[in-house]
Symmetry: C2
Subunit: 191 residues, 2 copies
């Protein structure tokens, strides 16, 4: 099951056989059930997760109990509360399994050690984080400037594999509107 | 004038004297006037900018001509249209000088060469990008979940040095509201 991860890394950087062994031994395989928490505030996010199958999602629960969904992580994506993971401060965001999922799990200590032992991984994560910035800029703009119809169409384009896997109330939470409003928008699009 | 940059880098990574010379020779010093463009869509963003003094800002101009401000970059910040810079695709975001500014400018070729010659810079940019992700997550949440009053207070906290330097219509654009609405909100806060 580490093959998927090694393949993903090798699409971006060169790895020796020794590197591959070190990586394989650094990640732990983990199965989680739908709805299970991977990060739950204010616990520290001790792990970075690479999604092999299934889907995780990250959200913020505000003081009024409203859930604001930041990002979905289907197969091949990474997911954690990055600030908590990198700084060992209390987490602010929930990370939860949207579906039964298979993960590869990396502790902060193993992450630091891997980056020291395999410097090319700095380059991999640099590119990964740069892509996340690009996606977040688009998402921010999306919320700042576009109509809910357009936001929904962009959601479908960004996550084509998730259309029928994410419950409607979560799509609404991702779009920043109430489920009722989203339902009206969707039926307008379908007509 | 390269000292500020070298100091910033050395707060995060070790550099040899040779590294420092290579870095110094890779960046070009540039003075820009208030309102001058550094990136203008659809031109490719050929340069990354490190701000020595003054302030740059990045925004998206939508089809209705409305300006949506994504981020401000005062002294010590980096700024470019990252997607365009990294992929050499057409830019989508404007980068403009908010004030007369002094910059250190790096081409994509020099950036790639520096990362190859000084691998520790991958680690520097990995951390820089990770911090940008953390900031963007907060900003996104801010727009998705909080009231304009709170957004404004967070803007002041994030950019304490900019309170009296950013015109009100740009603060409004950053907060995602009209200048008129922002003006009402602000007078309510001041009362």
């Amino acid at each position: 099951m580490h093959t998927t991860l090694i393949q993903e890394l090798k699409r971006h950087i060169d790895l020796t056989e020794e590197d591959e062994q070190l990586i394989t031994s650094s990640f732990r395989y983990k199965k989680v059930r739908k709805n299970q928490y991977l990060v739950q505030p204010p616990d520290i996010a001790y792990h970075e997760h690479f999604v092999l199958s299934g889907c995780l999602f990250e959200y913020y629960l505000d003081d009024d109990g409203i859930q604001h969904t930041l990002v979905f992580a289907p197969e091949g994506w990474w997911m954690t509360d990055l600030q908590s993971f990198l700084t060992k401060q209390e987490s602010k965001y929930h990370v939860q399994a949207l579906e039964d999922s298979e993960l590869l799990v990396l502790t902060k200590e193993a992450y630091d050690k891997l980056l020291t032992r395999i410097p090319a991984l700095n380059s991999y994560f640099r590119s990964l984080y740069a892509n996340a910035i690009i996606g977040l800029n688009e998402r921010l703009l999306n919320v700042l400037s576009t109509k809910v119809e357009e936001r929904y169409l962009r959601f479908l384009k960004k996550y084509p594999q998730l259309e029928n896997r994410v419950p409607q109330y979560l799509v609404a939470s991702y779009l920043g509107v109430t489920p009722e409003f989203f339902s009206r928008v969707k039926s307008k699009i379908l007509r």
